[in-house]
Amino acid sequence: MTASIIFLNVACGAKTASSTETATAKTEQTTAETEKAEEPKKEPVTLTLICGQPDYPQGFDTVLEKIQQDELITIDKQIIDNAYDVVRVKLATNEVPDLFLANVPQTVTLFNADINCEPLDNEPWVSRLVNPELLKYAKDGHIYAMPLTQSSSFFGACYYNKKVMSDLGLGEPEPKTFAEFMELLEKIKNTGNGVVPIFMSDKDSWTTQIFTTLGMGVALKDKPEVWEQILTNKVKTADVPEFVDILSKFQQIYLKGYVNKDHMSATFDNAKEAVGTGKAAMILQGEWVVGDVVKSYNADLGSFIIPFTDKPVMGTGAYVKGIWLPKKSSKLAEAKKFINCLSEPKYMDEYYKQYPDFPAFKDVNGGSVHPAVKNLVDKYIATGNYAAEFNSHFDAVNSILGNDFWPSLSMLIMGKATPKSTLEYFDKALQKAAKDKGLEGF
């Protein structure tokens, strides 16, 4: 009898428990449905994004597809040459895109971002940034763009083909002085069986200037006051002996025959091919070249910095690629929603699975960065042994870099100009541009 009663109680209890569970499950399901019903309905929206051809990150389409599926936000990508010029015209004529991609904070003055673009200091992703100080515009402290893929960028170094170095018996070189660097180039030239010591692609003048922008930035690491003097016309660059020294060193690399004979007509693609296939021992570039060369040529790369001043200091950029939001966009709210989504780990992780890098956000997994790049970041960025490149000090008049200074380097490397005359040419261009822009002191 007792057993029956117990059995009945258990059965009833079980039924009750089951009923309760069912009731609970039903309640939860009803709650979820209610929540879903209460969730604002997502309206499909299309946002225009203007971006330069070399700036569009590879593999980014995967992330955009995911966002489109999840949030119904479609990005109408307009990838064009001279994107910066097109954006400036559009900002001036009020026919603004919803988003555009450009270096931040380097191009704030170029786009008059303090007038034309939305400050993003109060967006939710700002608190998750690895390096918020890098993004702030020096004059007003605002952040005008969301960093896209990196916490900092442009780790300027010699990226070398490990197999070539190993075959030449040079192991994994790491010159400590500039003289040692030149000796390394000499050794490769003499014993390399035709291997080019350092491949230069001077048809693309932005690659030519890498040596000078890094070197001149590093040269004044311990004299930051000189930049202010140059930018207020108290000192000319031609009168800075450190700059003359760097340009002289640069010229020597060419005059001593350490570069490829066809350097004046070689392109950046030729350079990647040369180091990837072992025709050249190394190229002087930024970290963006590593992924391309490794993927395209299956080459193993190592890296070392050029000790411009015989010190272990790496030249680096003071910018990252970022997404900017013009104030006059008719879809500003949607554009902010898009970049907020984009910053989330579930999307950013997807990007870094394909292209490991140093993420801009603390909670994003950047994947395994290539050792050649990690080596530089650990040695120089993490320890503070770096200096901002020369170019980063001339944001207000940066048109003179591409239009005047970089082309003038062609004359220097062909031996048709001296370091001092090259800097005098730069000073003249700086005077003109600074006067046009109404900079103080000019």
Binding site: R88, V89, T109, K203, D262, S265, P407, S410, M411, D436
Partner: protein, 290 residues
């Protein structure tokens, strides 16, 4: 009344085109002229009238003077070479050859190719390891000549590209001109004992003046407005050795200084107008009526 309608009727029909022409050509032209006297800069607020400041600046700016020099060198070279080769080809392909139609097509083809295609082709051909150097190497000469990367040879590479692309076009105009010359003149000259050279100088060239006029004027305008060839092949480099006026204008527009760039454009337009008018007038006076 009927006469009045007849007079006004053509004007009515021309109105739509005139309106479109006025809105899309005349108005922007006048606006451009006005803006060239201002300090319009898209990086700054406001536009102010500055008189001749932009023009004074231009004629003291080294880059502007270098670009004028390079433009004139290219213009001079292409006018002579396009017309010389065009005329020679026209003489050759006006003869009774079985393959003349095929050959005319081949020589005309480059004119319809895009500058981007031609530029990429020439970049490849004139690389140090390109076909041109390999061809030169066959004859024992040093086969490592730097073409696009040399300050002087880069300019000539631009000229070669231009001449290669357009000679066929000019050849066709000369062929049309040659075919319009009545045979009777040549027969009469032969009867009078004139040799081939005398026929060319006293019959062909004078009768070909309208075609020469068109071709020289077109190549002059094309030379002064050179842009795509430089943009694709050299980018104005090395240094500023192939910087031409149109390319400089493009660069200055890129800096946002629209007032100054418009002033440069006005100077270029004035150059083109004056030179083209002078040359056209020169040849017009020498045209012989049939």
């Amino acid at each position: 009344m009927e006469n009045r309608v007849k007079k006004i009727y053509p004007l009515y029909l021309a109105c739509p085109s005139l309106i479109l022409y006025g809105v899309f050509f005349i108005l922007p032209l006048l606006a451009g002229v006005a803006l060239s006297f201002t300090n319009w800069d898209i990086t700054k607020a406001g536009i102010a009238f500055t008189g001749f400041e932009n023009f004074k600046y231009l004629f003291t700016d080294d880059d502007f003077l270098i670009s004028i020099r390079n433009t004139l060198i290219i213009t001079f070279a292409v006018v002579i070479l396009r017309n010389a080769f065009g005329l020679l080809l026209a003489f050759g392909l006006n003869a009774r050859l079985k393959t003349r139609n095929l050959l005319r097509t081949f020589f005309y083809l480059p004119a319809i190719l895009s500058y981007v295609v031609v530029g990429l082709m020439f970049t490849s051909l004139f690389q140090m390891r390109g076909m041109v150097n390999q061809f030169i190497g066959i004859f024992g000469a040093a086969g490592d000549i730097e073409w696009i990367g040399h300050p002087v040879r880069a300019l000539w590479t631009v000229i070669i590209l231009d001449v290669w692309k357009w000679t066929g076009f000019f050849m066709m105009i000369y062929i049309a001109g040659l075919q319009a010359i009545p045979h009777e003149y040549y027969e009469a000259a032969r009867i009078d004992g004139a040799g081939r050279l005398k026929q060319i100088f006293h019959i062909t060239i004078p009768m070909l003046m309208p075609a020469i006029n068109i071709n020289v004027t077109l190549s002059l305008i094309g030379g002064l407005r050179v842009f795509e060839q430089v943009m694709i092949l050299t980018g104005g480099g090395p240094g500023k050795s192939t910087m031409v006026l149109n390319f400089l204008i493009f660069k200055v527009f890129g800096t946002g200084m629209y007032g100054r760039a418009t002033a440069m454009n006005l100077v270029l337009s004035a150059f083109v107008f004056l030179l083209a008018s002078a040359v056209s007038s020169f040849f017009k006076k020498r045209e012989v009526e049939l």
